[in-house]
């Protein structure tokens, strides 16, 4: 069983299947597509140049470097969380302002927490693999790969 230690930014505990990418995510362009908007704000990633093309982010422990792109990102994440379609938890190499804003807005305005842990480890995407069963603790920043 592998263990990683990061910095907890949004608290809460969750256990789920990892979805891992080493490519930054543009959550505005990836998620704000008609197929999602008219499907109760589903969080299917529609960026055809990206390795997560057509993957549903819902309920996954999403592991990625950081977000890029539009300042709408915080609001996109916020509304996805509101509709209950968001990832279960997020593990990033760098917590950027847009991703972090979205999760903080959800915490303050909706009282909904999606744990966020920052692990600035260049080996992160070798240590956690897609479909690993991962337990995250946003209070302590601890991550355990249990299956």
């Amino acid at each position: 069983m592998k263990e990683l230690q990061g910095r907890g930014i949004i608290s809460g505990q969750a256990t789920g299947k990892a979805l891992v990418t080493s490519q930054p995510l543009n959550l505005t362009s990836g998620l704000s597509k008609p197929w999602n908007l008219f499907n109760r704000l589903a969080a299917v990633y529609y960026d055809r140049h990206h390795e997560l093309y057509k993957k549903d982010l819902y309920n996954r422990v999403l592991v990625f470097p950081q977000t890029i792109g539009s300042t709408f990102t915080g609001m996109v994440i916020l509304e996805t969380i509101r509709r209950g379609r968001a990832p279960l938890a997020m593990v990033v190499q760098q917590a950027d302002t847009l991703l972090t804003s979205g999760l903080i807005l959800a915490e303050v305005w909706l009282h909904k927490k999606v744990p966020l842990i920052e692990v600035p480890d260049p080996q992160l995407f070798n240590l956690i693999k897609t479909n690993d069963l991962v337990e995250v603790n946003g209070d302590t920043g601890a991550i355990r790969i249990i299956g």
């Binding site: 977000t67 792109g69 300042t71 709408f72 915080g74 509304e79 509101r82 302002t97 847009l98 807005l105």
Partner: protein, 386 residues
Amino acid sequence: MNLTAEEKGILQGAQGKGMQLALSTLVRYGEAFAADRMVEIHSAHLAGSFGAFIYRTYYDAIRLMVKEGLKVKVPATLNPRPLEKIKFLDRIMISQQGFLEASLAKLGVTPNYSCVCYDRENIPPQGAMLAWAESSAVQFANSVLGARTNRNSVTIDLCSAVTGKTPRFGYLLDQNRRGQVLVKVKAKKIDFPALGFLLGKKVVNRVPVLEHLECTRDDLKNMGAAMAASGAVALFHIEGVTPEAPTMKDIFDREPDEIITITEEELASLRSFEKSKPEMVVFGCPHLTMSEVKTLGEFYRGKQVKLPTYFCMIPRVRQELGGTDLLRDLEAAGVRVTAQCPLAAWTIRALGRKTILTNSGKLYYYLHKSEYGATEDCLKFSGVSS
């Protein structure tokens, strides 16, 4: 974070629920990035100008603030309207546009309706602390004006506007504004949006410093917007051009972490218009300034467009064009002059839309069914020669 007595009071509800939630959000945001305290801001810029039906929490926040009679504490400009002539089907997507515009007006937001707020309505001095959203505007404020803002999200921008504060972290601090990556551009003629598009992908979130090159402010606007879309770059420097980098020694504290070289071939590789057949031409993402309208407009005088051609510009610029020969000539040529946001407009009107050719790196990045062309390619497709 060290909070003032007044800030602590606001967190306890002394100024109502809207202020309490807004400041709580900003304090949590600051804590996540190890901010030591809040700072008063010079101005805000709000990106949330599209009344799309999905943004429920944003509208809840606005409704609460309006109900409690809150007003923005600093000048707060606003992003463009998504569309100007709203047709029936559009109303489904942007059903809240009327509510949004009226509510933001009640909060005292400046109705400039442009991402290019820094052309007239919102020009901060060097060193000013800001809370801006809109990645292209953040770029310009940090890089070209030497003001200081983080990449703030929609809704965070609103929280800052009504409290007049932002947490002190990130690009507000000297040490985070230093050069990290050196960029050499080996090209005789520089295609600025293409350069921005490529740099965004390579640099991602670091601070690039470009060797000296000849450019206009509009070039920097267009390059910065593309860089902020294809990456997460909030600040760039150009040796001898931007205010914080008079020389390389002034902006680098140590050897660059990386040296990136961009060649003429790489810049040209972005020109993709031969891949599919563009059927309309769009200029203006970010919005065109008067100077750009005049420069581009010259090519259209006395000519006729071959393809639908749009000039998307700052609303004030369109107003100033009213009654001029230039406007008359543009309209006679068949150019459609608009102040809408091309990215929003052609995302909303995606069904059965024609392929767009644009010289905007940002628009090309975001819009599906779009191709990139340098300005001369766009002029040529449009039906006029450069």
